[in-house]
């Protein structure tokens, strides 16, 4: 086995007593001594600091061509409105393959003289190669490894971060801005993956530890591991690549139609013209029969990723599968997301999840399980 990679915060995690797991080739903290449940609830009520440096950071730029040229090129790969993404703004998107399946989902920002994308750790080499091979040679694609990425999330995140870097109240959800700190530039966005208000900060590796130590010295913030990151995103119905999304699931099946702006849909000013358009545009009109749904298991047993779903309690009529599931610390009950085949399932039919050769009844519900709290205005 190849040795696990370490982020710039490796020593800090150890000194904080983190329990580590291998994740996408990195040794990452899964939780700190207070444990996943307390970390989760702390982030919901105050603020949490996350190391997400394992994620990929892509800089997409050109020495010879305009931002408009780059945007046009990116729109061939992404079914979202890049041309209309204003300077210092960020947007969610995905890279479809020819069949409409998802190569990766990402956050992309317009940073004035280049685009900056944050991509999944497990997909960064794949995305990098794919984009480089499928974009104009006049565009430079750079997977940077000189910068760390951290997130500060939760209702107190603005206060805590502004104590370090200055006024943040002018930034609203999905705004992007540069801040200087100890002579270096921080790339800050008001976003994250907990469903709450918060920030993501890309900063030089060399500065990361001191920056995080200064954050953690303040009251009202705790370090949070990947365990609580998973429960936080699940409560808000956010997809995890590799579980809820993969190369065989389309964005429409995944319930991500909202991320495809009207301008790129049929009848829009720049309709189609992206990889996977045939399937994706057709599904927007027709509604797919295979769809991501939310479930409440009736009992206390968490029904997790891989659990098969049936419309009977004897395992005869399989209707779908759970792709993310676990215990919700906020709701104090199990929650699951997964895919249902609506050709085999009718609303009102019973649903059972198979676990350890038993069949657990569950009910269809709506996403998100816990309402999001972004700073939209």
């Amino acid at each position: 086995m190849t040795e696990l990679k370490k982020t710039a915060l490796y020593d800090l995690h150890r000194s904080l007593g983190a329990k580590s797991i291998p994740f996408a080739g990195y040794e990452m903290p899964v939780n700190y001594p207070i444990g996943i449940m307390k970390e989760h609830l702390y982030c919901r009520k105050s603020a949490g600091l996350f190391d997400v440096s394992h994620m990929g950071q892509l800089v997409i730029s050109s020495n010879t061509q305009s931002m408009q040229f780059i945007a046009n090129e990116l729109e061939k790969l992404l079914p979202i409105d890049i041309l209309g993404l204003g300077e210092d703004r960020q947007r969610y998107g995905f890279l479809p393959n020819k069949q409409g399946g998802i190569i990766d989902d990402l956050m992309i920002s317009n940073r004035g003289d280049h685009y900056f994308a944050v991509i999944n750790a497990s997909r960064k080499e794949i995305d990098f190669k794919y984009i480089k091979e499928n974009i104009s040679r006049e565009i430079d694609v750079d997977l940077i490894n000189t910068r760390a990425l951290i997130a500060i999330q939760g209702p107190q995140s603005e206060k805590i971060l502004s104590n370090q870097i200055g006024e943040l109240s002018s930034l609203k959800y999905l705004d992007v801005k540069n801040f200087s700190y100890k002579g270096e530039i921080l790339w800050v966005s008001r976003s994250g993956y907990t469903g709450q208000d918060g920030f993501e900060i890309s900063l030089p590796n060399s500065l990361c530890e001191v920056f995080c130590k200064n954050i953690l010295e303040q009251d009202g913030v705790e370090p949070i591991g990947l365990g609580a990151r998973d429960t936080l995103r699940l409560e808000c119905g956010l997809c995890l690549y590799g579980q809820d999304l993969n190369e065989t699931i389309t964005p429409i099946e995944a319930g991500l139609k909202w991320a495809i702006q009207k301008v790129r849909r049929t009848g829009g000013e720049r309709e189609g013209g992206f990889v996977g358009q045939e399937k994706i545009l057709k599904q927007i009109e027709e509604h797919p029969h295979f769809k991501r749904e939310a479930f409440f298991p009736d009992g206390k047993a968490p029904l997790r990723s891989g659990t098969k779903l049936f419309s009977d309690d004897s395992g005869k009529n399989e209707i779908g599968v759970i792709t993310s599931g676990g215990y919700s610390p906020s709701l104090e009950r199990p929650i699951s997301m997964g895919y249902l085949n609506h050709n085999k399932f009718k609303i009102g039919n019973p649903i059972f999840g198979e676990l350890r050769t038993k069949f657990f009844p569950m009910k269809l519900t709506k996403l998100p399980f816990v309402a999001t709290s972004f700073k939209r205005n």
Partner: protein, 119 residues
């Protein structure tokens, strides 16, 4: 109190033995959110998976520590699984069992031996 390599503790309780998991095991599992216990009267053999524990992170099994019969289960931990994190060697015992061979208990680790085992 006697201990198994699977991080269970066993303690004489009249004619039966009381079984639970150690503090070390509870800490390793993290926040416990679901427990499924065997039915009273179940005959078990050593190493058989008889309890399911789910933490926030993952599911684990608890194995029967010795051969015998389950005589009583602690429903309080099924109602409130967090008891196991708070008091694993006290209130949060899992089940009581009557041993097939009383002498089997002597073959398990002492507290000192268990402490060395988890070092």
């Amino acid at each position: 109190m006697k201990f198994t390599e699977e991080h269970e503790w066993l303690e004489h309780d009249g004619d039966t033995v009381k079984v639970g998991i150690t503090e070390y095991a509870a800490e390793q599992l993290g926040d416990i959110v679901f427990i499924e216990l065997p039915d009273e009267g179940t005959l078990v053999t050593k190493g058989q998976e008889i309890v399911v524990i789910e933490s926030v992170k993952a599911a684990s099994d608890i194995l029967a520590p010795l051969d015998g019969e389950i005589t009583e289960i602690n429903n309080a931990i099924v109602e409130d699984p967090s008891m196991v994190n708070n008091d694993p060697t006290g209130e949060a015992w899992f089940f009581k069992m009557s041993l097939k061979n009383q002498g089997d208990l002597d073959g398990l680790m002492s507290e000192d031996e268990y402490k060395k085992h988890i070092e």
